[in-house]
């Protein structure tokens, strides 16, 4: 006990001495100094994330003004009405009609396929630029960013024209005798929507992959080769594990917006059989059912927390390991 007290006093003394020394050197700052740098970010988050998110709750559990048909948010939790939330949740799990389960399953399938395809297509491209880009790296990067110069909406509308029955895609395929007649790409085909998702989101995958691959030191690869590993083994045992974090980051960046996407399927199909979760939210908003739309947003958030947690866990364990 006495030792404890003594050591505590010693520690206090040491702290005072350190503080005096730092003050003398002009390197002492009050406790609040460094955390205060986070304040703008915290204020930004509070105003533009926490409050709007609370507003989603207030709308979800709000009510519809019978006269104006406008959804009125209820800010006080003790007045919240869970009717819309229960109804929508029941539909999501397929217990009530109309069931939303097929839309959730379809969204997960579309996003999974599109995300995997994004990795498969992007990885070789990013690898090439990072490893063999040489002096032209900047030029290649500019080419990769080029799609961002054109609005996403315009790019999708352009594909709509290219894939039309009398569009160039069908004309080329028919003239090459790969098709006997034009294929109705835009008539509610899952493949077209998935293609749209891949095309739309691929630049978001390439950039983090490139950043990750470019950071891998060439000496590590040389060491692997010196130790007798062939090209494939070097890739699987060195490059791939070291780029795991970049793949994870890329996947998170593309999957999160894909889950909420509704315009890709609207522009590339527009049919009920290709609607995603985002389409349901859009439909409910258009039908003046804002509460139902807000409920779907909350459910989507819960769904998205899973990959987010996985990402944070992977990143944290990776950081701890390195």
């Amino acid at each position: 006990m006495t030792e404890d007290k003594l050591s505590r006093a010693d520690r206090k003394k040491a702290r005072r001495q350190r503080k005096a020394r730092l003050k003398e050197e002009g390197a002492w700052y009050p406790k609040w100094y460094w955390p205060s740098f986070a304040m703008p970010g915290i204020a930004w988050l509070a105003v533009l994330f926490i409050l709007p998110f609370y507003a989603v709750f207030a709308i979800t559990f709000g009510y519809v003004n019978p006269l104006s048909q406008v959804t009125v948010p209820v800010w006080q939790p003790w007045y919240w009405d869970p009717t819309a939330f229960k109804e929508i949740s029941c539909r999501v799990v397929g217990q009530c009609e109309p069931s939303y389960a097929p839309f959730f399953i379809r969204t997960v399938v579309y996003v999974a396929i599109a995300s995997v395809m994004c990795v498969l297509v992007s990885y070789p491209v990013a690898y090439f630029v990072a490893r063999y880009g040489g002096r032209r790296k900047g030029f290649y990067l500019m080419l990769l960013i080029a799609p961002f110069w054109v609005s996403y909406l315009m790019r999708m509308l352009a594909w709509g024209n290219l894939l039309a029955n009398d569009g160039y895609v069908n004309k080329v395929l028919v003239s090459l005798h790969l098709l006997s007649q034009p294929y109705p790409w835009l008539d509610g085909k899952s493949i077209t929507v998935i293609f749209g998702l891949i095309y739309g989101y691929i630049p978001y995958m390439i950039l983090p992959l490139y950043a990750g691959l470019d950071r891998i030191s060439p000496s590590l690869l040389e060491a692997s080769r010196d130790l007798g590993a062939n090209t494939v083994r070097t890739f699987t045992k060195v490059t791939l594990p070291l780029s795991k974090q970049a793949i994870t980051a890329g996947l998170v960046i593309v999957t999160l917006p894909m889950f909420g996407d509704y315009y890709t399927t609207a522009l590339m199909s527009g049919y009920n059989n290709t609607k995603m979760i985002g389409s349901l939210i859009d439909d409910n908003l258009n039908n003046n059912r804002t509460g139902e739309a807000a409920t779907l947003v909350l459910i989507l958030v819960v769904l998205l927390i899973i990959p987010m947690l996985w990402y944070l866990r992977t990143t944290n364990s990776e950081t701890a390991r390195t």
Binding site: P66, P182, N316
Partner: protein
């Protein structure tokens, strides 16, 4: 704390019990605080909402005309001068000719700003939250006229500023007849803007190659001769090329008319559900697509039959892949006159800053030439008394008005006349519980 002590981990990082409790306490304390701060912004529905909503239990109908009390506090004195503007207009997208707006600006030396809304509820939401003080709302649909008046969002009209109303507009829509229109007797709050019907658009040229390989010109004579031309939208021959309007009232109303139910404001669940099932059948057998792109889809060959608004089809020539005077699209509306018909209105908003200028603008839009120039641009004809026959706006017709005859010959049926309103059925205000029945049915259609 030793890692083996089993402290909670958040995202892989150890958190002490003290940290966890402190965080929880802050969160617990902050939620009610935030709620209290936000409490002023909303609450449980009050008595006022319920009482006002009860007036919707007796909505306006032709056999139940509605006269709304004039709010004397907001009524303008006659003879005031125009304010200096700018005039703020709240409108649907692409529902007014920008050139005509420019003419008004030049004529009265004021600036006009246009802000658009996407649905009527979007408009009402933004008006009730008073995001900005608009002067004029255009394209106000009849199913919202009563609501918007009861919400005190409209300013009563001073008719001395609107001589063109009595001079030019159909009596049935309030021109010179103080007992009309039935949805706002005496035009106390609104003046008519455009009129339209909802029918079936179809192409009469060569069908697309994958499904429809035949010459469709036979439809020109076949459709009017059919017992029930609505069936065209359920015809599997047009699989993949049959579209309907993405609207929770229009599509089910057409399914009802197809089955002979003429009350398209019904609250009968059996009729509403029958219409729902018919639409689901169309999706399953014809692969029906729902959109509001009739004016683009048909000329571009994305749809060969399309439930369509008459005004949209009048604009079709502008939307062929290249400018064309082609006349390959037809529009069917029941010859019996028992089809879907409607009209939109214009009103002056209560919190606008330029009420006199707003009256001047309304009067300007009721002028024959201004209204017809607007028609040339958006395809929706105004209810002007000088248009006494459909052919007056049809290209090449003997009585065509040289400046305004823009309608292709084959689309003469897309020009509604006052007589069409005698038998035509309108989609009007619904009681809240009936409205929910329609929306529930529509949700099933959208999720099929």
């Amino acid at each position: 704390m030793h890692p083996r002590e089993g402290g909670r981990k958040i995202f892989g990082q150890p958190v002490s019990r003290r940290d966890f409790l402190r965080g929880s306490a802050i969160t617990a304390a902050s939620i009610p605080t935030a709620s209290a701060l936000l409490a002023a912004c909303g609450g449980k529905p009050g008595q006022e909402d319920e009482q006002l909503a009860s007036s919707l239990n007796d909505p306006a109908r032709r056999d139940n005309p509605k006269t709304y009390d004039v709010n004397q506090d907001l009524l303008l004195e006659p003879g005031l001068k125009n304010e200096g503007g700018p005039l703020e207009i709240f409108n649907w997208e692409e529902y007014i000719n920008p050139t005509e707006v420019g003419r008004f600006e030049d004529a009265f030396g004021v600036q006009v700003n246009i802000t658009t809304f996407t649905t009527m509820v979007d408009a009402v939401t933004r008006l009730t939250t008073r995001e900005q003080s608009y002067d004029v709302i255009m394209g106000l649909t009849k199913d919202f006229v009563g609501r918007i008046i009861l919400l005190d969002l409209l300013r009563p009209l001073t008719h001395s500023y609107l001589p063109n109303l009595d001079a030019n507009i159909w009596p049935s829509l309030g021109g010179g007849d103080p007992t009309k229109p039935f949805y706002d007797v005496g035009s106390n709050y609104t003046v008519p803007y455009t009129i339209y019907t909802t029918g079936v658009g179809y192409r009469i040229d060569q069908g697309p190659t994958d499904h429809i390989t035949m010459d469709l010109s036979y439809l020109e004579d076949a459709i009017p001769a059919m017992d029930n031309p609505y069936d065209l939208l359920w015809d599997p021959k047009f699989k993949g090329y049959s579209h309907m309007l993405d609207d929770y009232r229009e599509a089910p109303a057409m399914a009802m008319l197809r089955k002979g139910h003429v009350d398209t404001n019904t609250g009968d669940p059996a009729i509403i559900n029958e219409a729902r099932d018919d639409l689901v059948e169309a999706i399953q057998t014809v692969g029906t697509k729902f959109d509001v792109n009739d004016y683009v889809d048909m000329p571009e060959g994305r749809s060969y039959v399309h439930q369509a608004w008459s005004g949209d089809l009048v604009s079709v020539p502008y939307y062929y892949p290249s400018w064309s005077t082609r006349d390959q699209i037809r529009y069917w509306y029941p010859e019996t006159g028992v089809g879907a018909i409607g009209s939109d209105t214009i009103g002056i908003l209560a919190n606008g800053k330029n009420p006199v200028l707003a009256h001047t603008f309304l009067n300007y839009m009721l002028d024959f030439d201004a209204a017809m120039r607007n028609f040339k641009w958006n395809g929706y004809i105004p209810p002007q008394t000088r248009i006494t026959s459909r052919t007056m706006v049809v290209r090449g017709a003997p009585d065509a008005l040289p400046d305004y005859a823009i309608v292709p010959k084959g689309l003469v049926t897309a020009v509604p006349m006052e007589s069409d309103f005698i038998k035509g059925v309108e989609q009007l205000e619904l009681k809240p519980e009936v409205d929910n029945l329609w929306k529930d049915a529509w949700e099933v259609v959208q999720t099929t």
